[in-house]
Structures are given as structure tokens and as C-alpha cells.
């Protein structure tokens, strides 16, 4: 499906997991982004979940060295909670990824999740996803 051009990149937990496990295409696209002056964005909740579930913290650190970690603010917490409620999901991490992607007009690298697509749809944002 082809939709409006995107100007940024947001990583979900799947992107962090793939990098930690040595997915070479994820590292190659991360490199390509940086070489083009694009700094991928990672919502803080994604970072928490990545470190909770992945043993290779060193690889996560290497990926995050070239990423902008978006802080989890009070305002963001309310936004993500309301969005998750509307999307009828308990997956706050997916809601935070969808919300950041919509707000920043960004493509997403993450695992394929119904919650992610539903949350993006509620924001009127057609999800552009590289599913890992």
C-alpha cells in the first residue's frame, strides 16, 4: 500500500529486539538513516520493554546511541492511555509507538501488531511499517 511520504523513523520493541538479535537489515537501515541525517525516535516505554526482554543490553545501547529517546511525560502518558482505551488494547507500548509515528509523520519498524495498526488508524495515520 502506498500512502503519504514519511519524514522520520520510529522504532518499536520489535526493532530493538531485532537489533539485539543481530538482524542485519535492521542495522543496515539504521545506518542508512544516520547517514542521511535522520535520527530514529524510540519512545521511552519501548526502551523499558526492550531492556526488560532482551539480554543483549550492549547491542541495545549501540542502537540507542544513534536514536532519540522520547521521554515519557505526563502529557504523553495521558495521550497514550486514552489512545489505548479507544483502541481497546492493554498494549500501551504499541499505543506510544503509533502516537509518536502519527505526531512525527514517521514510518515504523516494529513487529506486526493489530494494536499498532488500530491505534494509528484512530489517529487518522496510515501506518507505514517494516515488520520484523
Amino acid at each position: 500500500m502506498t500512502v503519504q511520504a514519511r519524514t522520520g523513523l520510529v522504532y518499536g520493541v520489535g526493532a530493538l529486539r531485532a537489533a539485539a538479535r543481530g538482524d542485519r537489515l535492521v542495522w543496515a537501515v539504521h545506518r542508512a538513516a544516520l547517514m542521511n541525517g535522520i535520527i530514529p525516535v524510540v519512545p521511552a516505554m519501548v526502551v523499558s520493554e526492550g531492556f526488560r526482554t532482551e539480554a543483549r543490553g550492549d547491542r541495545l545501547e549501540a542502537l540507542l546511541a544513534g536514536s532519540e529517546i522520547e521521554p515519557f511525560t505526563g502529557e504523553g502518558a495521558r495521550r497514550d492511555g486514552e489512545l489505548a482505551a479507544r483502541a481497546d488494547t492493554t498494549d500501551l507500548v504499541a499505543a506510544s509507538v503509533a502516537e509518536a509515528a502519527a505526531r512525527r509523520n514517521s514510518a515504523v519498524i516494529a513487529t506486526r501488531q493489530a494494536a499498532l495498526r488500530a491505534a494509528a488508524g484512530l489517529l487518522g495515520h496510515e501506518l507505514v511499517l517494516y515488520a520484523v
Partner: protein, 88 residues
């Protein structure tokens, strides 16, 4: 904490920065600081990639091209499929 430094910029660069800062609603200094911060982040990020490559093996020209092509596809609004490249 802020450090004051005297920097020299080519006239055309200074004019462009001034216009961009005005457009973004920030000061000349804030705009320059933000640009430097981004450049440093890119540099740190590429060091991170190099650290991973030191362990996993350098990305080949083919892999680099595949990454660039995927980025271009995503930015043009086309969703992608699951990676089939090797993992290390």
C-alpha cells in the same frame, strides 16, 4: 549550564541559519546548538553501528544498499516485509 564560544561562520551560512532560526521560532544560538546536537547524535550512532559490526561482521555493500533501499521505500510510504538477511 551554557558555555559561550565565539564562532566564525561564512556569511551565507550565517544568513541561512538566521532565517531558519526565525522560521523555527528559536534564537540563533539555540538553532546552532540543536544542529550541533543532531550532528553529535549521528556521530555517536555511527560509532554504535561500528561497535556492532566489530562483533557481528561489517555490513557488506549489498546489505548497505538493502538498508538504503528499505529506508527509501518507507519514506515514500511503502510498508515492508520481514527481514530475511542473516543474523549474527
Amino acid at each position: 549550564m551554557v558555555t559561550k564560544r565565539s564562532v566564525s561562520l561564512a556569511d551565507e551560512v550565517a544568513k541561512a541559519v538566521e532565517a531558519a532560526a526565525h522560521e523555527d521560532g528559536v534564537s540563533f544560538s539555540a538553532w546552532l546548538s540543536s544542529a550541533a546536537e543532531r550532528q553529535l547524535r549521528v556521530r555517536q550512532g555511527l560509532r554504535g553501528v561500528a561497535d556492532w559490526e566489530a562483533e557481528a561482521g561489517a555490513l557488506t555493500a549489498e546489505e548497505i544498499a538493502a538498508g538504503e533501499a528499505l529506508l527509501a521505500r518507507l519514506f515514500s510510504g511503502v510498508s515492508g516485509a520481514t527481514s530475511r538477511l542473516r543474523r549474527r
